[in-house]
Symmetry: D2
Subunit: 309 residues, 4 copies
């Protein structure tokens, strides 16, 4: 059991904010390109305790790839793990998250895991709904339960901007459609996918979502089951093996907790049986992870001597 208090958060953020200078705000998604590198925030939601936070904790960002964990949870709840893993594999890969090359080489053309774009698109393709609005609704429903906030929704501008420019994801979708991994309308699927990526919240809300995973799927306050424990465990396993893009192995050694990042600059981290942490800082390193976020979590791991390994 580790204990984190607000003075820790303040000290850590103070110490690492300077590293924002080493990173670069993502530029290939027009709607994210104007984020300010000096915007930073961190929040910690302990199980059965009081939320603490520092920095611009009200600032809303889109969760981007962090949504892959949520859509995976929805698909696992709706279809079970056997059905999901008949469409997407469970193995980490050293290829970049946007890669199509291996889909061509490997037979069958099954995406390696649900944390790379191809796999996440295949997972979202499984979510139930008669149309894109219903499919997005399923994802939002779970996000709102986890964040305990009915107001959480997606940012229409960011979703639209990503929808219009996601040529690579369209390429992945058509490639998988050719091989039967994805079915139905690609445009509808991309609408759902860009909306799930554009779900918008602040670090306080994201920390609460992480806290549910830390509590094995149960509400950190009421202890009520929000996600089945097996689904929570599977999601956390993927966070460890492939949650931090092509830096997952390094992060596992340097920090050692389940975590998922998004190119907006957010990271959620899961401290088993303790609580959930969320860090935001839009300056990214070359792997696509928040520089400030990584540094802060390394600091946490070093000071609290915490690792699942």
């Amino acid at each position: 059991m580790i204990k984190i208090d607000q003075s820790d958060l303040i000290k850590w953020l103070e110490h690492v904010r300077i590293y924002a200078n080493n990173g670069k705000v993502v530029d290939y998604i027009p709607a994210l390109a104007n984020q300010q590198p000096e915007t930073n925030a961190v929040a910690y939601y302990p199980i059965g305790g009081e939320l603490i936070f520092t920095g611009q904790a009200e600032y809303k960002f889109t969760i981007q790839s962090i949504s892959k964990v949520i859509s995976l949870a929805v698909a696992l709840i709706q279809h079970g793990d056997q059905a999901v893993f008949s469409r997407v594999d469970k193995e980490p890969t050293s290829d970049p998250f946007y890669s199509v090359a291996k889909l061509e080489v490997e037979k069958p053309a099954k995406p390696f895991n649900p944390m790379i774009n191809a796999g996440a698109l295949a997972v979202t393709n499984m979510i139930r709904g008669r149309n894109s609005e219903e499919m997005v609704g399923e994802i939002l429903k779970l996000v709102r339960v986890l964040a305990n906030d009915e107001q959480v929704t997606y940012d229409q501008d960011v979703a639209q901007s990503e929808y219009e420019t996601s040529f690579l994801n369209r390429a992945l979708c058509y490639f998988m459609k050719q091989h039967g991994v994805i079915t139905g309308s690609i445009e509808e699927l991309l609408e759902v996918y860009t909306k799930q990526c554009a779900i918008s919240m602040n670090v306080k809300q994201l920390a609460r979502i992480a806290a549910v995973f830390a509590n094995d799927g149960r509400d950190p306050d009421s202890n009520e089951e929000l996600i089945p424990p097996d689904v929570a465990r599977i999601c956390k396993t993927f966070m460890v093996t492939c949650g931090m893009y092509n830096e997952s192995g390094t992060f596992a050694i340097n920090v050692g907790i389940p975590a998922k990042s998004g190119v907006s600059g957010a990271i959620m981290g899961v401290i088993k049986r303790c609580g959930g942490i969320a860090v935001f800082g839009p300056a990214l390193n070359e792997k696509g992870n928040s520089v400030v976020g990584i540094k802060l979590l390394e600091k946490l791991a070093a000071e609290k001597m915490w690792s699942i390994f």
Copy 2:
């Protein structure tokens, strides 16, 4: 100079038609799947001589990848070689014609040559026209001049069928759009591309087109220039280095003439300064080339001791 007469054609076709049993009609394009493997034909159009032919010489097939030579000629005429080769490279590749993997690895994401699908799509993307109909019109205009037949057009059913199922080509297009190799509407481009592939003719017409190339771009009857000699030469060079899919090197050794095949089962072959030959037989080998076509051209090369090398 070699001399081919009708008894040659009859003898060769008689000899090789049995090999159709070793091949398989293409099955991934619904509109081509019902072609009969026993349909075979060959025609030879000598420069300044009389067209000869045998087999089902009136049977119309779609030219498929053979159209890549025509669209390349149109683009070279319209834009010059420098402009064209700024978008597509000139090198043969051992990757399959539908491959996307190398586009991802190589920087910049330039297709290797205009005979693989990615390169052919990039070339068609350059053809002038305010809309798809005008762009198709430019290609048809040249085809009609070369075939000396104003009636040549595309098969609407085949075009529509390929348009609806060309997920892989859509994947290639979106991938190239992401990297700036292709611009504009992908759906419009695919409309043009599937129509050029669906241009329909018989072996007599195709042999005349080949004869123009054999005559360095000039009409085989009137000797009038139909294509600039440099454009004809460039097209023929690509036919040698990459005209027969991943069997181009083997074909160069076994036959040794510029040739281009299509998955419908057609092959056009160019006998420099002599004439053009066209063979049809829809049973394909595993590389996607007409079994009967390859065998007949090997027979021609062996008997007439002809090779450009």
Copy 3:
């Protein structure tokens, strides 16, 4: 904390031994090809408790790739993590463990992690010693301390057999030598490497080694530090992200403990703060992992509800 007693081991092994029929003894290493698929054993070494075991627990096997964990520990102890990770990266890969392809594509040609052959060879290349015998001595020294048995050594016949047939490892070595990742004599390096792979022991000894990792590097009986805790933690992290070949991600979901397998059919598993487990069964699945070993550890995870995630 979980509790495993001998009746568990007996029941589990009884239940899973039948799965040996689904696997195949490795055939590309002549000296291993005559192992009997029905040979099975399991041992559990609890921290501060009594070793328990069942099956052919005296049977000696060579540890093969399990030795990669030991040589990594030796290199980390001798050189520190910065030096080691300047030569080999920390990321899991979806490529096979014997792959050279990515070394060519990625610049610099740094192996992805120390659990694939390329990475393990680069790590062994770092071990101190004036000659191969001294280098092997360094590895044996640590193995003997961990197994608490001065008699542990390598099987000369297996080492020799692997040395003579390891063309692929020679290819990897020369490739890395070209790129400066490996230095010195390749033949000497391969001598060390094939000897470390040929280190021979039974499940009781292997379980004790696992128990040291479970105890964060300390002796499971005396609690004395045998490996620095950071080294133990890094080794365990690699066991989770890449310890089970291209099945590591699946194993993490289905079992969820640090583990390392070898193609002889052995697996060592680490149950944090509880104990070390070793299973042997030479029939391998297509990924190269012991079928019986995997099944038994899945049973343990399911019954004891244990996972680090």
Copy 4:
């Protein structure tokens, strides 16, 4: 038929020698690194005519990859094309000449063609001889006949230097040995291979070798058959499809004659039924071809309007 006289050679070399500034002498082969970029020469050997030349025509260089054509001819003469092409394929590739990656992906692990290193090594491995000296002897025997000079031999220093540093070729050899493409002693094979690459001559001798190919395998003076015509044709076909490394397709368009280059800076070009040309200039472009050589041959093609296509 084209006619080239000495004033052509002088004018062309004068015109293109300046381009040496755009290139770089090869640096990864120690024994070649001290070649002077301003050393240039060209020679033309017309069939049934008088040898002409200009520049440092006595300067001796090692032929490097040009030897791949000679060893292929030896293997074809000794074993026939069926036996040779059971070991190496006939297809050009877009991969670099030193690449191992595709050997791993493709099954079986057959090198794409005899002009890439893997394929050339597999071909040399077929040459008859009880030991390396006899194998080298077979290659030298043919070289001497073609060059009509019994004194031609290999440069011992260059051979030794390449032998000691050819880690990449060793990697290729061991990889192919693993897959049964290569048999016997790798060190012996590399001894033969580095000696064939180190065969040393000047442009006058190399032009005569090219002239034999231009004369379909017959002596350019006596018209006696030195190489069977089919072997000469196959060699020339490979020169067109893969003779100029990853620039072969571009060279085919820009120049359009069979040619083979070596990283020493030599190129031999074959003008069918006319004669053989050899150019030397050690400054290489990024593909590994002599800058001056390429430019001079482009000039020849443009002025004489010559292309096989």
